[in-house]
């Protein structure tokens, strides 16, 4: 009976979500056949909505599935997500108003639009566009893992025999619905539904973090029950210090290189609002910190541990919620987690579609009308959602977080062109291009090396490279970025800056 109440609440709220998604095309109405309207909500988002939209990139499956999963499995090192969030908005405060200002009046939709102008190089722009598209894929796949985790627990308790097939069908159906409303409502749909998602998540997190510790007799009980986790329980094990710091700083640098984050930034309506909403975003991280602690709390809840043993560590948060709360609340919180994967997936697919349309197709066919551009982008956004869906049926990772960390290694290679390019015109396009190539190759090689060549692991399990002392574990993103930067900077010093593009001299 209880399980049917959960399902009913879940389905009812999902219908509200769908109605909001389709209805939001009317919000601050614009011509949806224009790319700026569809993909940037007409650049009309004020401070509050921008806060929700960029915040939507934080409250994703990364937060309620991937981080708790690894805190539960491995312990303290995966609490890096908290300083990462605190740090990334400081970086955004410095870089993003500047990018916004550079983009204003030039109708930039992506950071690659800027790179093309700065370096006057179509090749570099296309390389970076593909980098962005590829880096988003594992991030979207992570969202799908999260949605799957909720469905697994919910459906697993309803039917033991057909759970897998039902879960897969449910996942595909919800993706078709999502694709349809992204197609019609674009970024407006994502932003409005992000408000609903965050309201549900925030309410759930607060209730859970107050109720569960009281029921189990305090956090101390959980920390004692957790005993010794591999990377430290009460504090971080010394061996993982460099791993923690490199994950923190690299993730902080990576977030605002992701096309979806820049998409969010460029959709705000002023630098002042952008700055203020960014400044307040670390508050979002409190929820992230509390959710990460669920990975410890669960050790004091035996029935939830039993579920995790059955359905996998990826279900830490849903299992804990299922074990401790009345059915209506479980349905409510589960829906929050589910759309917490869907909404970011929508935003990410929109940003991929922008890149493919603007920075690849349009370069080949400059005469394309803005109507055609918008239409193409809509279809691409649908395509990318299903590529990501196929991706997770095809590729398996031991821990869902590692997918996002691979995405991070890839997107970090765009840092010299975008972040450094924003502050200086002294970079050489060939040096930046070769640096990018070296960063990509070394990053991918080191991932393969750490997982398959050295450890012979069956699936992707780590993005740390293990040095002997004194470095011990280091996030591969840092190594690849350093190689990239070295080549980009030394190469630019040797070759001299690229020819000044027309855009810059005219704006001076």
């Amino acid at each position: 009976m209880n399980n049917y109440i959960i399902l009913s609440v879940f389905v009812a709220l999902f219908l509200v979500f769908v109605a909001l998604g389709f209805g939001s095309s009317r919000f601050r109405r614009g011509d949806m056949s224009d790319l700026g309207e569809w993909a940037l909500a007409g650049r009309k988002l004020g401070g509050y909505l921008a806060w929700f939209l960029v915040g939507a990139d934080l409250y994703t499956a990364y937060t309620f599935i991937a981080i708790p999963e690894l805190v539960y499995e491995k312990g303290a090192v995966y609490f890096y997500a908290v300083p990462y969030v605190g740090m990334t908005f400081g970086i955004a405060m410095i870089t993003m108003p500047r990018l916004w200002r550079m983009a204003k009046g030039k109708n930039y939709v992506t950071a690659v639009d800027f790179v093309q102008d700065r370096f006057n190089s179509k090749t570099l722009a296309i390389l970076l566009a593909f980098t962005g598209i590829v880096a988003e894929l594992p991030y979207i796949a992570l969202q799908i893992y999260g949605m799957q985790a909720v469905l697994t627990v919910m459906i697993g308790h309803l039917t033991a025999t057909d759970a897998n097939i039902v879960t897969e069908i449910a996942l595909i159906v919800s993706f078709i619905i999502l694709a349809a409303f992204t197609f019609t409502s674009g970024l407006r749909g994502a932003t409005i539904t992000a408000v609903m998602k965050d309201a549900i998540i925030f309410a759930s997190v607060i209730v859970i973090i107050v109720v569960v510790p009281i029921r189990i007799g305090g956090f101390a009980v959980a920390f004692t029950a957790a005993k010794t986790l591999a990377t430290g329980t009460n504090t971080l094990a010394g061996l993982y210090l460099n791993g923690f710091i490199s994950l923190t700083i690299m993730s902080a640098l990576a977030l605002y290189l992701y096309p979806h984050a820049i998409n969010g930034v460029l959709s705000t309506n002023s630098t002042k609002r952008l700055r203020m909403s960014t400044a307040l975003l670390p508050m979002y991280g409190i929820g992230l910190a509390l959710l990460a602690l669920f990975g410890i709390l669960i050790y004091a809840v035996p029935s939830a541990l039993a579920d995790v043993a059955k359905y996998g560590a990826v279900t830490v948060v849903p299992s804990l919620i299922y074990a401790e709360f009345p059915a209506w609340f479980v349905g409510f919180a589960f829906l929050g987690i589910f759309i917490g994967g869907l909404v970011p997936a929508s935003i990410m697919a929109i940003s991929q579609a922008n890149l493919l349309t603007r920075n690849v197709i349009k370069v080949a066919r400059p005469g394309m009308s803005s109507k055609t551009e918008a239409r193409l982008a809509k279809y691409f956004s649908v395509m990318f959602k299903f590529i990501a869906l196929a991706f997770i049926f095809a590729i398996s990772a031991t821990y869902s977080l590692e997918l996002q960390l691979v995405g991070g290694i890839i997107i970090l290679q765009t840092l010299p062109a975008i972040f450094i390019g924003m502050y200086t015109n002294k970079l050489n396009k060939y040096a930046v291009g070769v640096g990018w190539l070296a960063g990509m190759i070394s990053g991918i090689y080191l991932i393969l090396d750490a997982n398959f060549f050295i450890a012979h692991l069956p699936t992707l399990e780590t993005t740390f490279f293990k040095f002997t002392t004194p470095f011990s574990f280091i996030y591969i993103g840092l190594i690849a970025l350093l190689i990239n930067l070295l080549i980009a900077i030394v190469g630019s010093l040797v070759l001299g800056p690229s020819k000044k593009p027309a855009a810059e001299s005219s704006a001076a």
């Binding site: 908290v82 740090m87 400081g90 405060m93 500047r98 210090l241 307040l280 602690l293 704006a507």
Partner: protein, 85 residues
């Protein structure tokens, strides 16, 4: 409408006194620096509500960061002036 609102600006220089710029720099860099200096908060005690220092300090520091960033934003917005966005 000022020029800022209609044209992109690649060579924007923040207006404001050296003191203002320095204050902004401190307000932005200090929170990030503390987050990066993991050894200073990688300790067990004092424990708060059963949570080791390592975990609760980072969480509390998010709030401190947000407050410092907001002051930086207010100052930067003031420096940007009324004519810009």
């Amino acid at each position: 409408m000022s020029a800022h609102e209609t044209e992109s600006n690649w060579n924007y220089e923040a207006k404001g006194t050296t003191t203002q710029k320095l204050t902004v720099a401190i307000l932005l860099v200090f929170p990030m620096l503390i987050f990066g200096l993991t050894p200073i908060y990688n300790i067990d005690k004092p424990i708060l509500l059963g949570i080791p220092f390592f975990y609760w300090f980072e969480t509390v520091w998010l709030v401190v960061s947000a407050v410092m960033y907001v002051f930086a934003a207010l100052l930067l917005n003031k420096m940007e002036g009324a004519d810009a966005q």
